[in-house]
């Protein structure tokens, strides 16, 4: 039975729930002294004092500064690129162009389509063409202005529909496209059908359907891209970069620079926000390394905000036609969706996006029949990629809107209709074989209904004032790694020497979500030591064992399990030492409060340090390794790997808001956000993730959109790209639901991404409750809302 706890500011709630343990708790670990307690992030003191070092804060002797020349047109042949004037300028140390390397790279092995710099042609406005390293940033910029470029225009593909057409090979953006559509600009097409879709629609009592349109949005992390490369005297390259996924960058660098991986060290600097936007290997990383190779000096690239937005990888602009079928009791029968996804200039994570837009609709409701046609196309716009809730957010808006429409049509309360359809725990979805181990969505929705007084409000608030609901699920890490191999997905090493410091090595990237703190908590809990004894080193590929990094919401589940396994090895060593010192059997010891206590005779106890030094006798430092690999999962059809995860998180949100019918302006009042994270290892962080997801989701719901004219992004700055400010952000009540996942570390699942998707439909459905219009375009800006209100009034007048 899941446990519901906590909300925004009621710390006491956490205390009340202490002592609740998942089935997967370590045998013998009964202390529960650290897991489940709010813990400030381990690096937070460095961050509040300004001590934390981000890439742009670093300086090296002899360091040069790089600026990048970017394409000013969306699709064109480069007729002439003249760097001679730039090269001749005093203070310029190197200029590189596309001639430097023709090696293509990309995050997915199937989409190696990025060049470090454009060669014969440019494929989006903002694409790097050349770069300068100079003694100062001012000189580098002046040299960039001195480079001459002449273009010859090619056919531009600025609407995703244009990319579906057959064209001449010369007009194709990339040589390699979807095999099924070889003459188009389609990057990836996915067609899946399971169950009797036609039959379901025939027998249905309600078949809501609509066309939806989503603008592209950006991660909007506050730290602009910045990296430093240093090709040292020993011929090793050191790249300092705020990467969410240092391992994939490490691989891509080896490929592009043609070096063995061990000759490259990737050092993750403090990451000033990622949200998926720092998880591709990037052109500017390659450029910095090339300039460092050519100059043998450290080279720093710092982008401005506009360049950062042009580098992109945000949520795909999407157009969807979706229909759902329900019986008269509101039971979901089928989903049929046709989705066109604008991938922009590169592949990036797009093959995954093409699958996720369909297959992740197989929850949180039991779906008997499923049809999906998805196409991700290349276009001459800013590359799209992975962003928080990757591939699940836009389709979730579609399905949650249609679920709401069915509820209204069938005369069933929208929450009640959802409650009738949720996937149960310990179940497997009928077609894709997604395995649901634990779910607390039922309890979450009921708690959100209670706290929001849903039944007193829905359908009963005055005109202009409404309440709406949205539900979602998300993967706790992709079960299949991007690179197929036998290596574990996460490995954690622990070293404890006689000083008593517990050093954990991991390559899971702390990007502000608190993964270092999570690893420290797990290790401290298992070996019963204080949290401040544990130091997590997660920045450097030379010392950290491989972890696939911070994407697909995988870190707590996978790196957390690896940390626990490593800590249990240490625990056994310490127990053996305690046994030797006391004569009691090793399996009878509990670990807590820096002591190792005999369970049957609590007066027999050994201090942590004493046990440690005994364990170190004749061998020195205790060294342990733990790892995590997902269990075999899934069906055996083509594409069956997409969407598989060892566990899924679930969320149920309710939003109350006001709509001004004269202006279309939407003012959210409050969001009740119930999220099932399995077990809140650190409730402070879980609340932070939920609240941050709600904030980011409200941005996509109401104000954020990447606007274009002729392929040029019109609002590549934070004045015109509107992230909600404190004024725009309503009160958020985070409701932690604990379903105690049997395979998660101490029962934990993800909470960083899944909590974003339900906000947007909760807003859309609340707008319907407020003013009676359905919003099919996101963001729901005042002009769009007003247009919908006016259209409804016109229709009513005509009727």
């Amino acid at each position: 039975m899941p446990i519901v706890q906590g909300s925004g500011s009621t710390r006491n709630e956490h205390q009340k729930n202490k002592g609740v343990w998942s089935d997967s708790g370590s045998p013998g670990v009964v202390a529960n002294s650290i897991i489940g307690k709010p813990a400030p992030l381990k690096d937070s003191l460095k961050k509040v004092t300004g001590e934390a070092v981000y890439a742009d804060d670093m300086k090296f002797p002899g360091m040069l500064f790089c600026r990048i020349l970017r394409a000013t047109v969306p699709h064109a042949r480069v007729k002439r690129l003249d760097i001679t004037k730039a090269q001749a300028m005093p203070g310029v140390r190197a200029v590189v162009t596309g001639r430097e390397s023709g090696v293509r790279f990309g995050v997915l092995p199937v989409s190696q389509d990025e060049l470090s710099m454009a060669q014969e042609k440019v494929i989006y406005t903002g694409e790097p063409l050349a770069a300068v390293a100079a003694d100062s940033e001012d000189i580098a910029q002046a040299a960039i202005w001195a480079i001459e470029v002449e273009y010859e225009a090619l056919t531009e593909f600025l609407r995703p529909q244009d990319s579906l057409k057959d064209v001449e090979p010369a007009q194709q953006i990339h040589d390699k496209v979807e095999k099924k559509h070889p003459k188009t600009n389609i990057h990836k097409a996915v067609d899946q059908e399971f169950g009797d879709v036609e039959g379901a629609f025939k027998q249905a009592a309600s078949t809501p359907n609509a066309s939806f349109k989503f603008d592209g949005i950006s991660h909007g992390f506050t730290e602009p891209h910045a990296v430093i490369a240093h090709w040292d005297a020993e011929d090793r390259i050191q790249l300092y970069t705020p990467q969410q996924v240092p391992h994939y960058t490490h691989r891509a660098l080896a490929k592009v620079l043609d070096l063995p991986m061990h000759q490259i060290q990737v050092i993750r600097t403090t990451v000033g926000g990622g949200f998926g936007g720092k998880s591709d290997p990037f052109q500017h990383e390659m450029i910095a390394c090339m300039l460092a190779r050519n100059t043998r000096r450290p080279v720093k690239v710092t982008m401005d905000r506009e360049e950062t937005l042009l580098t992109g990888r945000g949520r795909h602009p999407t157009e969807s036609k979706v229909a759902m079928a329900f019986d008269k009791d509101g039971k979901l029968l089928a989903l049929d969706s046709d989705v066109l996804i604008d991938g922009g200039a590169y592949g990036s994570f797009g093959v995954v996006s093409a699958y996720y837009n369909g297959v992740l609709s197989n929850g949180p409701y039991l779906l008997p029949a499923f049809r999906y046609h998805g196409k991700r196309v290349y276009s001459n716009r800013i590359p799209s990629g992975a962003m928080r809730g990757h591939g699940s957010v836009n389709p979730r808006y579609c399905t949650e809107t249609l679920v709401d429409m069915a509820a209204v049509e069938l005369g069933i309360d929208p929450c009640e209709l959802r409650l009738r359809n949720f996937l149960p725990p310990n179940s497997i979805t009928p077609h894709h074989k997604f395995r649901v181990t634990s779910t607390g969505i039922r309890e979450g929705l009921m708690e959100a209904m209670k706290r929001s007084e849903w039944s007193k409000k829905w359908g009963k608030l005055p005109y202009g004032h409404g309440i709406g609901v949205g539900c979602a699920w998300y993967i706790s890490g992709s079960a299949l790694p991007i690179h197929w191999n036998k290596l574990p997905q996460s490995t954690v090493h622990i070293k404890i020497d006689m000083d008593g410091g517990v050093t954990c090595h991991s390559l899971a990237a702390d990007i502000g979500q608190g993964s270092d703190t999570m690893i420290a908590q797990i290790v401290a809990e298992v070996i019963g030591c204080k949290l401040d004894r544990v130091h997590v080193k997660s920045t450097t590929t030379d010392t950290a064992p491989i972890d696939l990094g911070s994407y697909s919401s995988r870190v707590t589940f996978m790196a957390g399990n690896a940390a626990r396994e490593a800590a249990e090895v240490v625990r056994k060593d310490l127990a053996a030492a305690a046994s030797k010192l006391t004569g009691q059997p090793a399996q009878y010891f509990d670990f807590a409060g820096e002591e190792i206590v005999c369970r049957s005779k609590p007066s027999v106890r050994v201090g942590f340090m004493e046990a440690l030094h005994e364990a170190q006798a004749d061998r020195g430092a205790l060294i342990a390794s733990g790892s995590y690999q997902s269990p075999p999962l899934g069906g055996d059809f083509k594409g069956s790997n997409a969407g598989l995860s060892p566990s899924y998180s679930f969320s149920a949100f309710i939003c109350e808001l006001k709509v001004d019918p004269d202006t279309g302006f939407v003012q959210p009042i409050k969001v009740w956000a119930a999220h099932d994270c399995g077990k809140a290892l650190n409730p402070l962080s879980v609340e932070g993730q939920i609240e941050g997801s709600v904030h980011m989701g409200l941005g996509q719901a109401l104000t954020e959109q990447m606007r274009y004219r002729n392929g040029q992004m019109l609002n590549a700055n934070f004045l015109d790209y509107k992230i909600p400010t404190p004024f725009d952000t309503p009160e958020i009540e985070a409701i932690i639901v604990e379903s105690h996942d049997p395979e998660g570390p101490f029962g934990a699942k993800e909470c960083g991404e899944g909590a974003l998707a339900p906000v947007i439909p909760a807003v859309g459905n609340a707008i319907f409750d407020a003013v009676g219009v359905r919003m099919f375009e996101v963001p729901m800006t005042p002009d769009r809302v007003l247009r919908a209100i006016e259209a409804k009034a016109r229709k009513e007048r005509e009727a």
């Binding site: 925004g8 500011s9 709010p38 400030p40 992030l41 690096d43 937070s44 003191l45 460095k46 961050k47 509040v48 004092t49 300004g50 001590e51 934390a52 070092v53 981000y54 742009d56 804060d57 300086k59 001012d138 991660h219 909007g220 992390f221 506050t222 730290e223 602009p224 403090t270 990451v271 000033g272 926000g273 990622g274 949200f275 401005d304 905000r305 990007i511 502000g512 979500q513 608190g514 402070l684 962080s685 609340e687 932070g688 609240e691 941050g692 997801s693 709600v694 904030h695 980011m696 700055n717 934070f718 004045l719 992230i723 400010t725 404190p726 004024f727 952000t729 009160e731 958020i732 985070a734």
Partner: protein
């Protein structure tokens, strides 16, 4: 074009530095004085990451030319904790008001200036006071809690001149 000598006080120390006329206060603090706690998020006054105090008032250092600060007294995030950690810093850390941390120095400097003017702000006054600062991680809730907690603490036990500037 030649460099000009800028003489001012930064975190209570007299400083003399030669700067280009087009360099901003943010550039000079970060590049010339190595005070990298002040962050540049947009360089056009839209995110608040670069907020510092100029003569006791919060200012966006990316929109302030360094030479405008001739003779001024500047305080940065590094100046807040010269002797002991400031209540705002501790509250931001302990309440979860900082995740990735990039916006945090700006938020703390803005909050500090706000609390000087209004030591007992309501939630709405805090929102208004911080409306020029963007945080992409926290959703602001934990930031408000941190400011409220620090404000209470500072009213009960005033901070003895965290920075004299």
């Amino acid at each position: 074009m030649s460099k000009h000598i800028l003489r001012f006080h930064v975190n209570d120390r007299a400083v003399e530095v030669a700067v280009e006329p087009w360099h901003t206060l943010a550039n000079v603090l970060r590049n010339d004085l190595n005070l990298t706690g002040t962050k540049i998020g947009c360089d056009m006054g839209t995110c608040g990451c670069c907020t510092v105090h100029v003569d006791g008032k919060a200012r966006l250092s990316c929109l302030t030319l360094a030479l405008e600060c001739q003779g001024a007294k500047i305080a940065t995030i590094e100046g807040l904790n010269e002797y002991e950690i400031h209540p705002l810093q501790r509250a931001f850390a302990e309440c979860g008001g900082s995740q990735c941390g990039y916006c945090t120095p700006g938020f703390i400097m803005q909050s500090c200036a706000m609390l000087k003017e209004n030591p007992d702000p309501t939630r709405d006054e805090i929102k208004a006071g911080l409306s020029g600062n963007l945080c992409r991680c926290t959703g602001f809730m934990k930031i408000y809690e941190a400011v409220e907690r620090a404000a209470t603490e500072m009213r009960e036990k005033p901070v003895s001149a965290p920075v004299k500037a």
